[in-house]
Symmetry: C2
Subunit: 621 residues, 2 copies
Amino acid sequence: MSAILFLPSQKVISADGRRNLLELARELGLPLQAACGGKKICGRCRVVIEETGELPAPTDREREALRELTERGYRLACETVLCGPARVRIPEESKILPPVILTVDGFGDIPVRLRPAVELCCLEVPPPAVERVTADRERLLKALEEAYGFKKIAVDPLLLLRLPQTLRDRENRVTAAVWNQRELVGLFPGREERLLGLAVDLGTTTLVAYLLDLQTGKRLAVSSTLNPQVHFGDDVISRIAFGQKDPEGAVQLREVVREGINDLIRRVAEKAGVRPELILEAALVGNTAMHHLFLGLETRYLAQAPYPPAVQESLWVKAREVGLAIHPSAAVHLLPLKAGFVGSDIIAGILATGLHRSPRVRLLIDLGTNGEIVLGNRDRLLCCSTAAGPAFEGGHIRWGMRASAGAVDRVRIDPETLEPTLRTIRNQPAQGLCGSGILATTAEMVRQGILLARGNFNPLVRSARLRPGEDGQELVLLREWEALGGQEIVFTQRDAAEVLMAKAAIQAGTGLLQELFGAPPIAETLLAGAFGNVADPDDVRTLGLIPAVPTGKIRGVGNTAGYGACLTLLNKNKAREADRIARKMEYVELAGNSRFQELLMDSLLFPGAQDFKDYSWRGLC
Amino acid sequence: MSAILFLPSQKVISADGRRNLLELARELGLPLQAACGGKKICGRCRVVIEETGELPAPTDREREALRELTERGYRLACETVLCGPARVRIPEESKILPPVILTVDGFGDIPVRLRPAVELCCLEVPPPAVERVTADRERLLKALEEAYGFKKIAVDPLLLLRLPQTLRDRENRVTAAVWNQRELVGLFPGREERLLGLAVDLGTTTLVAYLLDLQTGKRLAVSSTLNPQVHFGDDVISRIAFGQKDPEGAVQLREVVREGINDLIRRVAEKAGVRPELILEAALVGNTAMHHLFLGLETRYLAQAPYPPAVQESLWVKAREVGLAIHPSAAVHLLPLKAGFVGSDIIAGILATGLHRSPRVRLLIDLGTNGEIVLGNRDRLLCCSTAAGPAFEGGHIRWGMRASAGAVDRVRIDPETLEPTLRTIRNQPAQGLCGSGILATTAEMVRQGILLARGNFNPLVRSARLRPGEDGQELVLLREWEALGGQEIVFTQRDAAEVLMAKAAIQAGTGLLQELFGAPPIAETLLAGAFGNVADPDDVRTLGLIPAVPTGKIRGVGNTAGYGACLTLLNKNKAREADRIARKMEYVELAGNSRFQELLMDSLLFPGAQDFKDYSWRGLC
């Protein structure tokens, strides 16, 4: 008996002339792939024989699986039995993959064990025996049971249509895609090695699609687009109203968002150079109204107190049933909802940020038309949704706009001259103020004493930039002749009131959750969504948007909704974790809550304002 | 305490002033319906208080459920608690139903316990609580669990779309249709009391639909129509060829048969005066090719040895997936197949005739383009399919036609004059010979010595009715001037050869099964299908179509395929029984079977022919 040295691990085992290299590698606990479980089917357990004595010629299976690689010393471990000493390398591509990393912008890396719900199974299905004919489907299922141990697998009826031909296309070799060890959701002729997943964040304003390689965990492509439903209403309430107007309204809303997602699917597939039919699983997150409109569910009652959703638990539907242009048999998971105004985007956000596993209490705020707030740790999760209004998205603000090229996103006001300095997205000529620009303008006006605590313009401040206008006093941020686009941009008394109202709603909602939680110290505040990534933590603090915590403890965490959806694709246990989060969350209804009303009244103040600390100024408010 | 007398059973129990009449009836074991299990929801436990002392006024629930019936003494047993003596009648409509009877033409009555897969559940779903909002779907499922004990019920996604509105249409009262205690397949506002099932026999030539009331077991309507696929080929092989010709062929075949079934659905629903959406379950049977063409499965390999079906086990698909115009969420059961040429029609036939439960060995023959033969008893079931050709359906016969008005179905030939007497269907002018007419003509020609044992015309017989023609000698059954339609009808030497070949195939197939079974005595021969009902057992015996058994033991049993499908709807256990039958059947492939070839050669004889017993005639054949 002589020694076989495995590289790169440097582990040694005796060549016994009986067991093949796969069996030996397993005994040593080496990370060598074998999707078929050693049944000599999958052709994945490739090794390189770097040094050995005499070696039998490659088998037919090896030649077929490895082709020209055999010339470079590649062999299949399951086919190779050595008697003499040898040096065997397990190449990178044959290793069982370690946990993969999902990078969350601004939040960090989330290690996650790769465990997608779909498994690709390479199979050889024997032809029907003449003496005892078994049907194609039943032979396929038998082969699947024998090679992979899957029992009682259901077969999507759609796959039956072409099943006889698929079995025969590549001489009885097929790759079966099995979902959750219980349903056949794909069948490909020959060997198919790619397995893709699609995560979609259904935002009220923006749709984002992530294409993942579920065998490596790699993010292959990301793409986003304006939610085409905006043409039927900027916010969910106006879309629900549109959907109720006539019987076709809801169908239109459903169809345009599905088309929007399908556009994204085409784009990410093209970017990654893959066929969309290899996408065998999808996960969708969104607020409750977006979820319902996408499915075509009745939304009338979502707009009436107590705002009951039509459904709240996780749903799995077939891609073809919801018109998604991926594999028609693929399972599409709609993550669970919590309430009419706390959707699966928030639950996915908790999943991605790990709020539900955190020993310390943290705060997660998703700022959009509704501000959803979650306060919690591993023991308890409180959530609410405040009708903050669209001010932080640019809505209801005279010169408000979406965060696109030409939107002002940073503002500084000189303390001496009160002259503003503006920065625009992509340095395009200024066209208006996006959310972070509105926040920055308000914060700077508060800092420089232009705005008083209750949101009024300070009548004692004089400047050529200040003037009366239609909506009360206004600050001219950009004069007509200063603007490249010839566009005057002002910030009015009414705008300030809108911002104050919005921030008060968030602040009061957060305050109520803190009280209900027993006023715990908050270790960290996470601002989710695009807004959270661009908002200046100093501005956030100046306006009192969130409880007074050190600025360093405020973080923009990006699209946590989308990341959460990605996580459920990479590891199916995360989908169940989302369900557990949904059940664990305690929803606090703010409508009609008298304590919330009190806190809201108390929050109608900018804490950073000079008069707030100096009561003698009060008379001026 | 005083006595309550229940009628019509005459049972007596004490009125204790505590337990309601439903509880008392249960204690006595009386057959009183209560679909909700006594949870005061369903309103089915109607009783008539015929005599009593003072009685509390009907409750609101009683008034709502019973309306004007309250004036006639009707009450709900679950709402009524009596203290004094009373006489209470359980009216017919409130009784739990006894086993129902399915009548099989020519075969007899099959008692079957009514146990459909779908249950109708009357529910009251409480509105969402303001302090703790639960979604509509989850409240419905909770109510279903509380009232009926159904746990983990899946909800067809389609039902979600209108669920919120349905819940509110009748003040939170709904009727839920639950399939197999595991999936919600229907949801109706208010109280829905009808539950219908549809059985379809997909014949190569004829489609038959049966509409059943699954709450009484009554057959509400039956309708049949020509399978529109006949326009693409008379037999399955030519249709498979058509389906392969171009990619649209299979789609066309699939669509026309689905339209044909939908026409039947409209007709039976109209006859019964019901809405097709109340059909919440369907069962389909047919030969393997019809089954595949209906589903749109690849049929190429069904026409190539060893003729493997694409699938053989039972399939359940949603009505909308196969385009059936019943409730779109209804489960459609396609009964199991055995082989490429032994379909679910045969398995349903075994189920209906009880061959698989019979202590004595019986023979079931379904005569069509293929003659399927089953020989068996409760211990063993052997089956085969013979390519008998379409002679018994009128195919390949000069004046052959389908069994419709004007087809000759009975023939007598005068022994002296050799003048034929013909009977036609509906006494219309003769247009041709249908299967039984062909059988009768051949048998009479054999009896009168016109045809010899090997199928040749007897050259010694002289008659003005006999003459040479294109296809050898021919017998003029109807002269041009005798026919009202002006139509001459003849039976030729070639026709006789076709009949001989067809009967030989059936006889040899039967003979082989008998040998394999160990030559058991055959207690009874059942002829299934329309042909079996009209064929004269004497003719069958004369030609030697089946083994020599007394004529009385030959029975036409009608459309056993359709009856079997009906049985699976009436009692869901019968569907499982069909699966067990399929597994138990042993299929004998005749193609390439040398013993079958020998038997076929030996069977190319008409046993009733005169020369068969008199060897001296042989030289003439």
